[in-house]
């Protein structure tokens, strides 16, 4: 079995913690203690999401999980960071911070590990990063889709009020549905 993965498997908890720490450090300093310490997942959805999903990613990466399994956990983290105060680079930096966490946690225990094993792990991580890129773009698209949907709904209401719309009814199709309205 792979020596590096063995070492990391033994120190999995520490690896998870370290990676999560690095991710949490991207938030304002004043907030890090709360995000780190409050363990109730409903009282601290941001901190819990990061900690739990990072743990799941570590488990998946070490166990050679399928891409779609990893994608679920990546998605949970990226969905949050995609709407926070981050540039795209800052939002996705966390993926690469895994390398730093591995290097720090493996420490001297990985002294005898052949370079090839590091490269293999990093290659997996590169795949993960590419996946992350796709997920991030998907989230951003979603934000603009729902914005557009709300904006269209408003215009639709105005046109309808002004009597400028021909109902699909009149056009012989299924009845037109009034759109969702963003304002009550």
């Amino acid at each position: 079995m792979n020596g590096l993965l063995n070492v990391l498997q033994e120190k999995r908890k520490a690896l998870e913690e370290r990676w999560a720490e690095l991710v949490l450090a991207s938030y304002p300093q004043q907030s890090v203690p709360f995000l780190r310490q409050e363990r109730d997942r409903f009282a601290n959805p941001l901190g819990s999401t990061i900690r739990n999903e990072i743990a799941a990613l570590v488990e998946g990466l070490l166990a050679g999980a399928d891409a779609d399994v990893l994608a679920t956990h990546l998605d949970a983290i990226i969905r949050v960071r995609a709407v926070q105060d981050f540039t795209p680079a800052e939002a996705l930096r966390f993926v690469f911070q895994f390398k730093q966490a591995v290097a720090e946690i493996a420490g001297d225990d990985a002294a005898g590990v052949p370079a090839g094993e590091f490269l293999a792990l990093h290659a997996r991580l590169d795949e993960l990063a590419l996946q992350a890129f796709g997920i991030y773009v998907g989230c951003r698209e979603r934000v603009f889709e729902i914005r557009a949907r709300e904006a269209t709904a408003r215009t639709y209401s105005l046109l309808k009020q002004a009597g400028l719309l021909v109902d699909a009814d009149e056009a012989g199709g299924p009845p037109a549905c009034p759109p969702a309205e963003g304002r009550s």
Binding site: Q29, V80, Q84, A111, V143, I146, E181, R183, S184
Partner: protein
């Protein structure tokens, strides 16, 4: 060498550069998606509000009146004498931090200035500087800051990032209500023309036509008729709501989204079916055609001005009392302010249910009853024939909307109704419901699309709890009793938990209600097929 390889890797520093989070300069251009567009000049002009002009927060010059500092100082001085609560809230905070991690915007963003205590501190620091001896002498040491343009911009940013939901106040040992601090801060901002269009346009429309969207009486009538037709298609029942009918027993006031937009229209259909099936003598008003009151998010004077139409129409139409639909902040205004602002409504009678004879003593003074109180009472007295299996295609949870829950205490009635009309009901975790409920992130005028990222951040704590019940119990519907929620939560779910839809409580009542003479129902009010092709067992 492997050893060398590893060391090289360690060299790489992935730590992000730290930003100065306490820097008061907000870069609006870099933070698109987290603020709302300013009010259009025409709307301010229409309402007679100060400093109408077209501008953008990204402009270097916000075109403030020359003496803006004085205006705000005087405005604060006036409000400190007028509202004892404000002075108290500004003085007594001991910065214990109990409220700090309770705001949904803080929880979703991690931005310290979204902590209620720091949000309030934005105003408090200026208050200390201008009005306290310690602040005047010690300045920054005593936490005092003179009001600079940068701080004013910070006010605009963060006081229009508070949904006035009052979750923080639940946890404050001194009962400090940061929502009220926000309300007063917004009043001050309004004095120099710093307001948002999503609030001011509905206010202007309400003032003119009675509702947020500017719907005129003929369109109001058309919309209602459209819904009556739709309802007939599903149920075979032709309901006959009257508009502006003098001498009706009840005036029924609803939020405008209920007769104009999905998914509120299905809730409206539920109301109509219910009132029709019981033969309630009610009328709608084409002018009191909006329960919502964005004056609440502008100033107390504006709130009073817009609220007045409800009593005015009740008097004009000669009704006995008023029934109100599923709206959130409408009930905050009615329950907490209407009586003192525009009451006493002694030309009305204390509300008594025409069906059960129950006297709604809680509303003896305002004369206005929440439809959930009305319906829960009907169910309690066995006045409704219900077939909850017609909602078997739905697995339902309930979102307590901030205002009915925290400003009114309507906690049991909607749950009692839901448990009577659906077979599959599941609560979200305790620390996310009832008084501790999490805001939708779009209240207080922030539910506009340009503010989407802030809304999605603020909605994370709510969505996180919905995801939990979705995964654990297969929940696919989030019911609530607020029109803003119905709109904002729909969007929130699209992003965070797309498997879950949103509805009002009376939509589900409408589904379950068995009415004499109705046709065998094959779909719910939305036209979706019922579970197992049944649901008409009792019809």
């Amino acid at each position: 060498m492997p050893e060398k390889k590893r060391d090289e890797l360690v060299q790489i520093d992935y730590t992000p550069p730290q930003r100065d989070w306490m820097d008061p300069a907000i870069d609006f251009a870099a933070r698109k998606g987290t603020w709302s567009y300013p009010a259009a000049a025409k709307n301010l002009r229409y309402l007679g509000l100060p400093n109408p002009r077209d501008w953008s927060p990204t402009d270097a010059d916000w075109q403030l009146p020359e003496n803006w500092q004085q205006i705000i100082h005087d405005g604060l001085a006036e409000r400190l004498t007028k509202f004892r609560s404000l002075k108290l809230f500004l003085d007594v905070c001991v910065r214990c931090g109990a409220c700090a991690d309770k705001c949904h915007f803080y929880l979703g963003s991690g931005d310290p200035k979204n902590m209620p205590v720091l949000r309030a501190e934005l105003l408090r620091s200026v208050y200390r500087n201008d009005f306290t001896t310690a602040g005047k002498i010690l300045g920054r040491v005593a936490g005092a800051r003179p009001l600079t343009p940068a701080i004013l911009k910070e006010w605009y940013y963060y006081f229009y990032q508070c949904t006035e939901c009052r979750r923080c106040s639940v946890f404050c040992p001194y009962g400090i209500d940061t929502a009220e601090i926000t309300m007063l801060a917004r009043e001050l901002l309004n004095l120099v023309g710093l307001n948002i269009n999503w609030v001011i346009e509905p206010v202007a429309n309400c003032d003119r036509t009675g509702n947020h969207l500017g719907i005129q009486p003929h369109t109001f009538k058309d919309n209602i008729e459209f819904l009556v037709d739709e309802l007939e298609e599903v149920t075979g029942i032709r309901v006959d709501p009257s508009i502006d009918r003098k001498g009706a027993e009840l005036l029924f006031v609803v939020p405008s989204a209920d007769y104009f937009a999905e998914p509120g229209i299905y809730t409206f259909m539920g109301y109509l079916l219910l009132l029709h099936s019981l033969g309630v003598d009610y009328t709608l008003s084409a002018y009191a055609s909006e329960g919502g009151n964005f004056g609440l998010f502008t100033s107390n004077e504006m709130m009073k001005r817009l609220n007045y139409k409800i009593y005015h129409e009740a008097r004009r139409l000669g009704v006995k009392w008023i029934l109100g639909g599923e709206c959130g902040h409408m009930w905050r205004v009615i329950n907490q302010y209407m009586d003192t602002m525009n009451g006493p409504a002694d030309f009305l009678e204390a509300p008594v249910s025409p069906i059960t004879g129950t006297a709604f003593t809680n509303a003896a003074s305002t004369k206005m009853v929440h439809i959930c109180e009305f319906t829960a009472d009907l169910i309690k007295h066995g006045k409704l024939k219900l077939d909850p299996s017609r909602n078997d295609h739905l697995r339902v949870t309930f979102h307590d909307s901030c205002n009915p829950a925290r400003a009114m205490g309507i906690l049991e009635e909607p749950r009692y109704i839901l448990k009577s009309v659906v077979n599959n009901f599941f609560e979200m975790p305790e620390n996310t419901i009832r008084e501790q409920t999490f805001c939708c992130g779009g209240g207080a005028g922030l539910g506009n699309d340009e503010n989407m990222e802030m809304r999605l951040r603020g909605g994370l704590p709510r969505a996180n709890a919905v995801r939990f019940v979705h995964e654990k119990h297969g929940v696919n519907l989030l019911a609530c009793i607020c029109a803003i929620d119905r709109a904002v939560l729909s969007t929130l779910m699209e992003y965070w938990v797309p498997e879950v839809g949103v509805s009002g409580v009376h939509e589900l009542v409408g589904n379950a209600l068995v009415i004499e003479g109705e046709k065998s129902r094959t779909t719910d009010l939305r036209g979706k097929p019922l579970a197992g092709g049944k649901g008409d067992a009792d019809a």
